[in-house]
Amino acid sequence: MRLRRRNWRKVIEMPPISGFMPFGGQIKPQTEPVLLLVEEYEALKLCDYDSLNHHQAAELMNISRSTFTRIYMSVRQKLAKAFVEGRTISIEGGKIYFDSNWYYCKSCKCQFNNQNQSVEITQCALCGSKNIEALKENSQSDIQEVTEYCYCIRCGHKIAKRRGQLRSQNVCANCNTEL
């Protein structure tokens, strides 16, 4: 069985900061940060900062209304978790692309955007080579899907989650229990 692939979510702009740190109180610095995906940040921003309803916001992000609501639910859960447990929030990752279309030239290895959307780009803006490709993601090549981990209940062994695998096939290498 394979899980369905996630659709690309459109993001208008990257968040201005890459996270939040708690202060005051007794916070253990070694607690794991809450990982907020960029698409989740965008959902929160559109909904609560720009006060759009879920319909409008979903249209802006080019996803369905129900997907948007799911992302929004997850961001509220994560934020609540960070606040209650006093964790750091780190905004990174997610399956996103940006509003303006960017291109990559394979011959001079530059990236450029198309500022005039009505004209189609056929050659590189710098070297004129036709060896170009459209970028789905922006120049931030460090944006990747965050890998999730499965933990063994008995010994705490950690492996990267493999999507689309039956639970019974996911067994711990150390003690053979289900993860």
Binding site: E13, S100, C108, K109, Q115, N116, A125, L126
Partner: protein, 105 residues
């Protein structure tokens, strides 16, 4: 058509500056007359807002393309609104002369 290139010095041998707002020099190259002009960046040591101020500086010289190492989060939407095309050469050590040669393809 005019192209702005961020430079570390005021000669053709100077390297491309990887920063946009706080680069040392702007080279404005005219593809029609093949002339180059060097402008020292007035916002080089600005405490803040160097990016938007630099955009204003180059936009007043009517450029239609900018070549730099990368553009910051404040600069990108302004350049997009001004219909100025951004070209990024991240992590590449190219000289101004080489870039001008590439523009003359």
């Amino acid at each position: 058509m005019k192209v702005a290139i961020t430079s570390t010095g005021n000669s053709l041998e100077a390297k491309l500056d990887q920063r946009f707002g706080r680069c040392s020099y702007f080279v404005i190259y005219d593809t029609e007359t093949k002339s180059t002009e060097y402008f020292p960046n007035p916002n080089k040591d600005a405490p803040d807002g160097a990016g938007p101020a630099s955009v204003q500086f180059i936009a007043s010289r009517k450029v239609s393309k900018v070549v730099s190492g990368d553009f910051g989060i404040k600069v990108k939407p302004i350049l997009e609104n001004l219909q100025i095309q951004m070209i990024t050469l991240k992590g590449q050590e190219k000289t101004i002369g080489e870039i001008i040669e590439m523009l003359n393809h």
